[in-house]
Every structure is written in structure tokens, then in C-alpha cells.
Amino acid sequence: MRAPTPVLAALLVTSVALSTGARTEATGATAARAADGRQDRYRSLLKERRALHRENTILEIEAKSAAAKSPYIFLDLEAATLEFRVRGKVLKTYRISSLSTDSRGKEPVNAEELWSKFSGPLMVEEVQGGQPELVPPDPEAGRETGLLFSDPNQLREETGAVEVDTDAGILGIEAPTDYWIRVKEPLMLHIHSPKDQSTSRQALQRFSDVLSSIGSAVSSLWGGGSSARDADVTIWLTVEPEIAQQLHHSLLPGETIWLVPPHRARL
């Protein structure tokens, strides 16, 4: 087999060039080691700068929020925690079992992407099932029985009951374990609990998802522009039922949630 002369020549030239380069490097091994040390230093400085930049971003949010008397909430998508803070102090932390962008928990959240979209404060506008209406009793009914709704002592005397829980709201409000939190920004937080993941509930959720996608498709066929709701990003937070209920009681409209910048976020 004879190689064409030009190709051989090219190979020869390349090899000579490479071997020359290699020889030069061998002689400069000491210098290279010194360069390696400087490069390691440079590398560690970059890491340090990056870590400090992120930490300072968090501290700046904290400093701004802590200057006011209102509480604020840090949602850390990486650590999967929801922290309630006042005046720069963490007063309670809820652990989130899992975070996803779909109801079935199949799509994990992309913390960097969410941070890039929602790096500002998220103002809670509405918590589903919050502020249920209290219907006062009919005053006429009280007159008929001769009993006043708000006077347990009178009722006890009249009825002979040991203790009467007629005080409005005495039984407490049973908070839901599956609900959404709507914020002013185009983002929705959906809190749900493992106990809500029964087969029938999952089927219902899938059916709802299918209906929603059909609705969107029909809307787009008719040339209708997408509504504000279509643009929403929904984060599904799976928590223990007890935590879901406590969270429902803890969050009020007007409160502020901050996403904690993830480690790889572009700040």
C-alpha cells in the first residue's frame, strides 16, 4: 500500500511540529506546575466569588424584608423548605416532601429557570378556601326559642348541658390539605398531601388536566388569545397533611414569598 506523497509529507510535518511542542513542554515542566498553582487559585477564587454573590443576594433580600415589621417567606426550591421569617429570624420551617411542575409529580422543578422568571417578591393574593363566610344566625330564630346564640351560660341554664359550644367558630376551621395559593405574579403554588393521591383523586386530576388541555386547544383553534391563567407556572408542593393545614392557616393575603436563588442561578 503506497500512501500518496502529499499525505505522508503532511503527516511528517505535523508529527515534527507536535514532537517539538511536546519537547518544549517537557523542558518547561516547572513553569507549568507554577502555572497550575495559579490556575487553581484562580479557580477557587471564582468559586468563592460565585458563592459570595449568591449569599449576598439572599442577604440583600433579607435585609430589605427584615427592615419591616411584616413576616416574609423564603421558598427554597433546592432545599425543599418554606421558611417563615420576621426581622431576620427564621421562626418556623416547613419541609416539603417533593416539588414538581405537574400534578403527578413527574416533572421536577427547574430552580434556575424559575428563579430567572420570579426573582422578585411574590405577593400572596388568595389562598383557596381561605376566609370562609360566617353566616350569622337568624335573629328571629333566637326570639322564637328565647335563647341568644352568643350566650352559652344562658343556654346551659336553659338546656342543662354541661358545656355548650355555641360560641361562633368554637369548633375551629378545618383547613384543607389540597389547595392553591395565587400570587400577584403569574405563578401558582399548589399545596397537596400524600393522602390526596388516591386513585380516584389521581383519575380526577388527570381528567381535569385533559379537560384543561382540550379547552386550551379549542381556545387556540378559535383564535382566542391565551388568558393570563394560561401563562401561569404552577409549582406543586407535596407536604404532609398536617403541614398543609398549618400552612393554610399561616399564609395570609398580602404576605410576601421570595424564591431563594439556587446555587447555579445566573445572578
Partner: protein, 248 residues
């Protein structure tokens, strides 16, 4: 005698030299040589890259290779200065936040699980089960107004300590009960329903006792914080006017 002669082997059929296609003749050596060249070059560049690429981490910093920054010493100086500035900023922010933090004796009320903590610095001195706001909304059927029975959140302070508090029933108490508003102030006064002590947080919100101790731990109040008699007494006797109260 006939000498047997070895049979002459049949001449092998002439091997016909199959004419090689021109492409085969040229391409084979080229491909072979190219492969060798690529191997050598790859080895060489792998060796070089081990030393010359400053940052190989899969993050934004990787963009700042030595080639990109030019002189490494200058780049190190530049980043060192930036790190120093960031550290300085970091210390300032931490000091600023620290100045806001609760310190000394203070109360923390968790409306999520209905607990009140008497704190001394970071230490929990007493943990009491309480009742907090129900969160229900009540609309006045006769007037365009409504109330939401939430315990307010944030930082407050004890502005008054009251022994044997008396409840002056606000309008919502009558609306809630389906009663008409009283014509005189005296009809609003109710004694003994707020327990033995009360801590006034302002805006009509109190930390007080209750007749319904078995409802402690539930979200049942109209915004006030109800505490059991024993805990209330201990807390009342410990805190002073001006004590900070943090409600979350």
C-alpha cells in the same frame, strides 16, 4: 522401463489481477493516515488541555478560562478584589440584619400550630398551646362592611398589661350573634370572659384567657390569642410593657 514421470502439476489458473477501483486505491491510505493523525493530535491536545484550561466546572465560571482572561496574574488580582468587596458587603448586610433580630425576652406566636413560645434569646422558656384566629369572614347584613377574623402577623409589642380585663363587645360580636347593635355602651360590657389577665397588643388585639380551655389548639378566635389560665399567669408575670411579640 518406462520411467514414470511425476505428473506435471496443472498450472494454477492465472490469477487475474482484479483492477482496484481508483477510489479504493486513494481513499484507503488517506483514511488510515488521517486516523493516525487524529489520534496523535487528540493525544497532544488532551495533554495540553490538562494544563491550559483553567476552569472546567460545569457552571458560568467555566467561561472564564485563562485564554479568555488573558494574563492570569491580572485576572487573579481582579477577582481577589471583587471577593474582598463581596466579603465586605456580606459583613455589612449581616450586621444590618442582626440589628433587627429579636433579642432578650420576647414572645413568638405560631398561628399554624397554635403555640405560643416565651423566648429568652434563642431559648424557649415556656411553650403554651393557644387559640388563634379562625380566618372566617363575617359580613354585616345591614351595612356594607365585613370582618375577617385573622390574628395579625408580624412584629408587635405589649403596650399594656391588664388585670381582670373586661370585654367591651365590638359590633361584630352582635352581628355574629344575629343581634341588633345595643344602644348603650353598658350593654357592650362583659366581665369575666377574657380570663384573669390580658396583654394588649394594640388595634383591639389581646393575648388573654378563655372560658373555653378545651378549644385551645384550635383556630377559633376573632383575632385575639387565647391562652390557658396557668400559662397566661406565668407569661403575664414574666413579660414587661414593651416586650416584643412576633406572630407568624
Amino acid at each position: 522401463m518406462v520411467q514414470e514421470t511425476a505428473p506435471t502439476p496443472e498450472p494454477a489458473p492465472p490469477v487475474g489481477r482484479r483492477p482496484r477501483p481508483l477510489a479504493d486505491l486513494i481513499l484507503r491510505p488517506i483514511v488510515l493516515l488521517a486516523a493516525i493523525w487524529v489520534l496523535i493530535a487528540a493525544g497532544y491536545f488532551a495533554l495540553r488541555s490538562d494544563r491550559s484550561v483553567a476552569v472546567t466546572e460545569d457552571d458560568a465560571d467555566a467561561l472564564e478560562s485563562v485564554e479568555a482572561v488573558g494574563d492570569l496574574d491580572t485576572a487573579i488580582d481582579k477577582v481577589e478584589k471583587e471577593v474582598q468587596q463581596l466579603e465586605s458587603r456580606n459583613r455589612r448586610l449581616r450586621r444590618q440584619i442582626h440589628s433587627f433580630r429579636p433579642r432578650g425576652l420576647h414572645l413568638v406566636i405560631d398561628t399554624g400550630d397554635n403555640h405560643l413560645y416565651l423566648m429568652d434569646g434563642e431559648t424557649v422558656v415556656r411553650d403554651a398551646i393557644v387559640s388563634t384566629g379562625s380566618g372566617v369572614r363575617l359580613a354585616d347584613p345591614d351595612n356594607p362592611r365585613s370582618w375577617v377574623f385573622d390574628t395579625p402577623r408580624g412584629e408587635f409589642q405589649v403596650i399594656r398589661k391588664i388585670n381582670d380585663p373586661v370585654w367591651t363587645k365590638p359590633d361584630w360580636a352582635f352581628v355574629e350573634a344575629g343581634e341588633g347593635l345595643p344602644s348603650s355602651w353598658r350593654e357592650r360590657v362583659e366581665e369575666g370572659v377574657l380570663g384573669q389577665y390580658a396583654l394588649d397588643l394594640g388595634d383591639g388585639y389581646l393575648i388573654h384567657g378563655t372560658l373555653f380551655e378545651r378549644a385551645l389548639g384550635l383556630h377559633v378566635t376573632h383575632g385575639c390569642v387565647r391562652v390557658g389560665a396557668k400559662d397566661l399567669e406565668a407569661i403575664f408575670k414574666t413579660v414587661a410593657i414593651g416586650t416584643k411579640v412576633y406572630i407568624i
